[in-house]
C-alpha cells in the first residue's frame, strides 16, 4: 500500500462492565477519546465506520448521535471480531481513493451489563438459511472451537498444555495492565485445572466477556504529518472469507492463510520481519491456528511454537497480545479485533507498558478472525509500520 493512510488516534474504553452506560454513550466515549488522542475534533471526521452492534439504523443513528455532520463516506461492514481490521483496511482504501481524509472507527457494546452472553449484537442468527438443518445445539462459539481444537490435536499432536501456554502468556502480560479483566498470573497447571467447558477446552482457554469498546482515527498522510502523535502507517492489509462450502471445510486451516498472504504481499514483508503480533484470541486454539496460517510457523507446529513462553514479551521469540489480549484483558462486545489493533498501535508507537514493550517495534501485525473457525468466518490481517 502506498504511503497514504496512518493511524493517528486510538482509545480503549477503561470499563469492562458498562452497568448504567448506554451503548450509544460508549460509542461517544471511545470516539471522543480517539479524536482527542489524535488531536482532532468531530468536525474533522468525514468518514465513519462501525459494526452491527452500533445502535440504530446502520451508521445513521450513531452519526447523528455523535454529531458527525461532514460525512462523505460510511461503511458498516460486519464480520464479527475481525470487523475492525476490515474497517481499517477499508478506511485506508477510501483515503487512497480520495473518498475521505479522516476516518473514525468505533466499537462499543455491553453484553455483560445487558446479560447477552457471548453473542453478537445487531445480527440475527435465526434468519440464516441453514437454520432448519442445524443440529439442536445452543449457539455458543466455544462448541465449534472445541471441535477445531480436538481435530488439531488429532492431526498434529497438539496438547492441552500447549493450548494453556497461550493463556499463560496472556496472563503474564495482563499483570501489567491495570484495566485488564483478569490480572492473575497463571501457570499451565492452573489453566488445566479450570473446569472443562467444551471438551477439550477449559474455561481458561476462553476469552473474557467484557463491555466497553475502542476507537481508531485513520487519516491521510499529509494530515498525519501535522499531528503530534507518533505516526503509524498502514503498510499492508488482507481479507479473506471461508465457510463450510457445502460440507467441505477443513477445521484446522482458517481464512488467515489467504488474508495473511495478501497482507504480507502488499507490505512486501514476510513473517520474519514482524516484531510484535496481536493475534485474535477468542480461544487459545484460535491463536495456534492463526500463527500457523500467517506463516509464523509451519502448519501443525503452532502448539510447539506457543509453548514454553514463546509468546511472552522479554522471554519468547514472538511477543503476542501484550495487553493481556482477549484471554485476560478485554474482548468488548465479543469482538476482539479492535483491541488487537489498539495494542499493535501502542507497540508500534513504543507506548506499550514498559514491562512488555518490544525493543524494536518498527513493524507489527494485527490479525483477526470473525465468525467461527469451525464454520463461516472472515479473517483480516493488517501490518503497521512506525515512521
Amino acid at each position: 500500500m502506498a504511503d497514504t493512510a496512518y493511524i493517528a488516534g486510538i482509545y480503549e474504553h477503561p470499563t469492562r462492565n458498562a452497568e448504567g452506560i448506554s451503548t450509544a454513550e460508549l460509542h461517544a466515549d471511545v470516539a471522543f477519546g480517539a479524536l482527542a488522542d489524535a488531536g482532532l475534533g468531530l468536525s474533522d471526521v468525514d468518514g465513519f465506520f462501525c459494526g452491527a452492534e452500533a445502535p440504530g439504523v446502520g451508521g445513521f443513528s450513531m452519526a447523528e448521535y455523535l454529531g458527525l455532520t461532514r460525512l462523505r463516506h460510511m461503511d458498516t461492514t460486519e464480520t464479527g471480531g475481525s470487523s475492525y481490521m476490515v474497517h481499517l483496511s477499508h478506511a485506508a482504501q477510501a483515503i487512497a481513493a480520495g473518498k475521505c481524509d479522516v476516518a473514525l472507527i468505533t466499537l462499543a457494546d455491553r453484553p455483560v451489563a445487558g446479560k447477552a452472553g457471548p453473542r453478537l449484537a445487531g445480527v440475527d442468527f435465526s434468519l440464516i438459511p441453514e437454520r432448519h438443518f442445524q443440529p439442536p445445539v445452543p449457539p455458543f462459539p466455544m462448541l465449534g472451537y472445541a471441535m477445531v481444537a480436538r481435530r488439531h490435536m488429532h492431526d498434529f499432536g497438539t496438547t492441552s498444555e500447549q493450548l494453556a501456554w497461550v493463556k499463560v502468556a496472556a496472563s503474564h502480560h495482563a499483570q501489567h495492565n491495570p484495566q485488564a479483566r483478569l490480572r492473575k498470573v497463571l501457570t499451565v497447571e492452573d489453566v488445566l485445572a479450570s473446569p472443562m467447558v467444551a471438551d477439550p477446552l477449559h474455561r481458561d482457554d476462553c476469552c473474557v466477556l467484557t463491555d466497553g469498546g475502542g476507537a481508531l482515527v485513520v487519516v491521510r498522510a499529509e494530515i498525519a504529518r501535522q499531528l503530534k502523535r507518533p505516526p503509524v502507517r498502514i503498510r499492508g492489509t488482507g481479507e479473506a472469507m471461508q465457510h463450510a462450502a457445502g460440507g467441505r471445510a477443513d477445521l484446522t486451516r482458517s481464512a488467515g492463510v489467504r488474508s495473511g498472504a495478501i497482507a504480507f504481499a502488499e507490505a512486501g514483508l514476510t513473517p520474519e520481519d514482524i516484531r510484535y503480533a496481536s493475534i485474535y484470541d477468542s480461544f487459545t486454539i484460535t491463536v495456534i491456528v492463526e500463527l500457523e496460517d500467517l506463516g509464523f510457523c509451519a502448519k501443525g507446529q503452532g502448539g510447539r511454537f506457543v509453548a514454553d513462553g514463546n509468546l511472552i514479551a522479554g522471554v519468547g521469540r514472538l511477543p503476542v497480545n501484550t495487553d493481556g489480549g482477549g484471554l485476560c484483558n478485554n474482548h468488548p462486545g465479543n469482538k476482539g479485533g479492535m483491541t488487537k489493533i489498539l495494542e499493535a498501535v501502542r507497540q508500534c508507537r513504543g507506548e506499550a507498558h514498559p514491562a512488555v514493550q518490544v525493543p524494536r517495534h518498527d513493524l507489527v501485525l494485527a490479525h483477526g478472525t470473525g465468525g467461527s473457525l469451525a464454520g463461516q468466518h472472515m479473517a483480516a490481517t493488517v501490518i503497521l509500520e512506525a515512521m
Binding site: H132, V137, A146, D199, A244, A245
Partner: protein, 554 residues
C-alpha cells in the same frame, strides 16, 4: 430484528426433507450437473453454481471428523462433525454414545432422534453403542426364551392386598386374559381398586395391548374381603403392607385356603422370603414375586428363590411371568434382591455426594447425562422416598441428618410440593430450591466437611462404580447366577441405557482392573463403602473375564 423471508421454494424443500426424516432417511441435495452433494438443501449447487439440484439419500454411514461435549448441551448429547460416505462433512449431534469412547475417524451410524420441537433430527451413534445394544437385546431375548418346562396350568390368580401393587397386579392378570380374585380387608380399598383396575384394563384394550378375554375377565373379577375366595387360584400373590408380622399372618391364612399345588407368592421388596415361607405349612410352594410399580406396565419380574422353594414352584412362577409378558429373572433371597441392591448402593453414595459438595440437581444431571431415565433425587421426590426412609428408620432409633430435617420440614416430595426440589402447583418439574441448598450446606458444616465442586468424573466413580461393585458382590454371594441376569434386571426394571449394555457389561468394557484400582483408591480416601468385592479382586488377580465368551460375540 425481523426478516421478510418467506422462501416458498426452500419451504417446499424443507417439507420434503422433514418427511424423509420422519421415515428415518437423511436427504442430501446433489447437483444435476457436477454430481457433488451438499449438506443443507439449496435449489442451486453451491459448488459449481448450476441451478438444478435433486435429492440424494444418504446411506447413513459416516466417519467422525471432530467432536466435543459440554455441560451446555442436552444430557447425553455430544456435538460433532461427521463426514458422510457421500462426501460432505456435516455438523450434527451424537446420542447414546459414551464420550470417552469416541475417536476421530471411527465409523458412525445415522440414527434420528427427537429434536427439541419433537421433530426428528439426524444424529449419530458410535459402534460401541451398537454393540452394547445388540448385547442388551440378546440377554433380554435369552431371559424371555427360557423353555417353559412342565408348567402347571394357569387360569386363575388371587391377589391379597388391593393397594398400589395389588391393583397393578390384578390389572396385569386381566389384561393377560387370566381370571382374578382380589382380597382386601377393607371394602373401601376394594371399591377403589376395582375402579382403578377397570380403567387400566380399558386403557390396555384401547391400545390393543390386551388379550381378547380381558373384558370378560374384568366382568368376572371377584373383589372380596373373604379369604376363602382364593381357594381355586393357581397362584396366590400377597401384596399387603410391607411388615413381616402382617405378611406372615396373611401368608398363613393363604396357606389355609389355597388349594394344594397352588403357588404362594409374596410381592415383598425388602423382607426375607424364608421367614415368610416359615409361616406356612408348605414352604416349598412359597416364592418371591417381585413386580415393579405400576405392575401392569413395568416389564421386569424378579422371581425370588427361597431356601425351600421347589423347582416346580419356580417353573410356575416363570409361567406366570411369561403369561403376563414380563421378563423374568430368578434371583436369590437377600435384602434388595438384585435390582434394589444396586439402587441402594447408588442412593447411598448420591447422598454422600451432597455432603461432599454437590447439589441434588448436579447429581441428577450427571445421572441423566449418563443415560439413566431419572436422577436419584428427582426419583426420591416422585416416589415419596424421604417419607419412606424416615418412617422405616423410626423403630431402629437411627437418625439421618438430612432426611430427618427434610421430613420434619414437611418436604416429603412431589406430593407435598417440595422435597429435594420444589414444585410449582400442578407441575412435576423439579426446581432447585435454595432452602434445600442451605440445609445441605448446614449438613456439611455440621459434619466438618469442606464443600468442594464435584467434577463429573468423580460423580461417575462414586455413583456408578459402587453399583458395579454391588453386582460383583451379588455374583459372589450367589444371589445373581450370571452377570447377564444383573444386566437384564437393570435394563428391564431400572432403565439402564441399552447403549451401555447393562451394569456388568459396562464393567467389562471399562476394564475390571481399572474399576478395581478406582475402588481401591476411593476406599482409601472415602472409606469402606467402596471396598472392592472379593470376586472383583480375584477376577483381576487371576485375569478372568466376567463374560465367557465375550459379550460382543454374536
Amino acid at each position: 430484528m425481523s426478516g421478510h423471508d418467506t422462501q416458498p421454494r426452500e419451504a417446499a424443500l424443507l417439507a420434503e426433507y422433514q418427511a424423509a426424516a420422519e421415515a428415518g432417511i437423511l436427504l442430501l441435495r446433489a447437483c444435476q450437473s457436477c454430481g457433488e452433494a451438499h449438506v443443507y438443501p439449496r435449489p442451486h449447487c453451491p459448488l459449481c453454481g448450476h441451478r438444478g439440484t435433486e435429492w440424494r439419500k444418504a446411506s447413513g454411514a459416516a466417519t467422525l471428523y471432530s467432536y466435543t461435549t459440554s455441560p451446555m448441551l442436552p444430557p447425553a448429547t455430544h456435538y460433532a462433525m461427521v463426514t458422510l460416505a457421500e462426501g460432505p462433512t456435516m455438523p450434527t449431534i451424537i446420542v447414546q454414545s459414551d464420550f470417552e469412547a469416541l475417536e476421530i475417524g471411527q465409523p458412525m451410524t445415522l440414527r434420528f432422534t427427537k429434536g427439541p420441537k419433537g421433530a426428528p433430527v439426524p444424529a449419530f451413534v458410535a459402534p460401541a453403542s451398537l454393540r452394547a445394544e445388540a448385547y442388551a437385546a440378546r440377554v433380554i431375548a435369552e431371559a424371555d426364551a427360557v423353555p417353559p418346562g412342565e408348567a402347571p396350568a394357569l387360569a386363575q390368580v388371587a391377589v391379597i392386598g388391593g393397594g398400589t401393587m395389588g391393583q397393578g397386579l390384578v390389572s396385569a392378570c386381566l389384561i393377560a386374559g387370566l381370571s382374578a380374585v382380589l382380597v382386601d380387608r377393607a371394602h373401601e380399598a376394594l371399591e377403589r381398586a376395582r375402579s382403578v383396575i377397570a380403567a387400566n384394563v380399558a386403557q390396555a384394550i384401547d391400545k390393543g395391548k390386551a388379550r381378547p378375554a380381558a373384558a370378560a375377565c374384568l366382568d368376572a373379577l371377584v373383589c372380596t374381603t373373604d379369604m376363602a375366595a382364593i381357594s381355586r387360584a393357581d397362584v396366590v400373590i400377597e401384596a399387603v403392607y410391607e411388615a413381616m408380622a402382617l405378611k406372615q399372618e396373611v401368608m398363613a391364612q393363604a396357606d389355609r385356603f389355597a388349594r394344594p399345588g397352588a403357588v404362594l407368592g409374596t410381592n415383598t421388596s425388602t423382607l426375607d422370603i424364608d421367614a415368610i415361607a416359615r409361616a406356612t405349612t408348605r414352604p416349598g410352594a412359597v416364592v418371591g414375586l417381585h413386580f415393579f410399580s405400576p405392575a401392569h406396565i413395568m416389564k421386569l419380574l424378579e422371581i425370588v428363590r427361597g431356601t425351600a422353594t421347589e423347582p416346580a414352584t419356580l417353573a410356575a412362577a416363570r409361567a406366570l411371568g411369561d403369561r403376563l409378558r414380563k421378563t423374568s429373572v430368578t434371583v436369590g433371597n437377600a435384602f434388595g434382591f438384585v435390582g434394589n441392591r444396586l439402587m441402594i448402593a447408588r442412593e447411598h453414595h448420591a447422598a454422600q455426594l451432597l455432603l461432599a459438595g454437590a447439589l441434588p440437581q448436579e447429581v441428577d444431571a450427571f445421572q441423566t447425562g449418563f443415560g439413566l431415565p431419572m436422577g436419584t433425587f428427582t426419583l426420591q421426590d416422585m416416589a415419596g422416598g424421604i417419607e419412606l426412609a424416615y418412617r422405616q428408620r423410626q423403630d431402629t432409633g437411627r437418625t439421618d441428618w438430612l432426611i430427618d430435617r427434610l421430613f420434619k420440614a414437611g418436604r416429603t416430595g412431589l406430593k407435598s410440593g417440595k422435597g429435594y426440589y420444589r414444585y410449582e402447583p400442578g407441575s412435576r418439574k423439579p426446581i432447585p430450591d435454595p432452602e434445600v441448598e442451605a440445609l445441605i450446606r448446614e449438613w456439611s458444616a455440621a459434619e466438618g466437611v469442606t464443600r468442594r465442586p464435584i467434577p463429573p468424573a468423580e460423580m461417575h466413580d462414586r455413583l456408578i462404580l459402587p453399583m458395579l461393585n454391588e453386582g460383583f458382590k451379588l455374583l459372589e454371594e450367589g444371589i445373581a447366577d450370571r452377570p447377564e441376569d444383573v444386566d437384564t434386571v437393570w435394563l428391564r426394571g431400572y432403565g439402564w441405557p441399552a447403549w451401555r449394555g447393562g451394569p456388568m457389561y459396562y464393567a467389562q468394557q471399562k476394564g475390571l482392573g481399572a474399576i478395581l484400582d478406582r475402588l481401591t483408591a476411593l476406599q482409601a480416601q472415602e472409606g469402606e463403602a467402596f471396598r472392592p468385592a472379593a470376586l472383583l479382586q480375584s477376577m483381576v488377580a487371576e485375569g478372568r473375564a466376567l463374560f465367557a465368551p465375550s459379550p460382543d460375540a454374536a
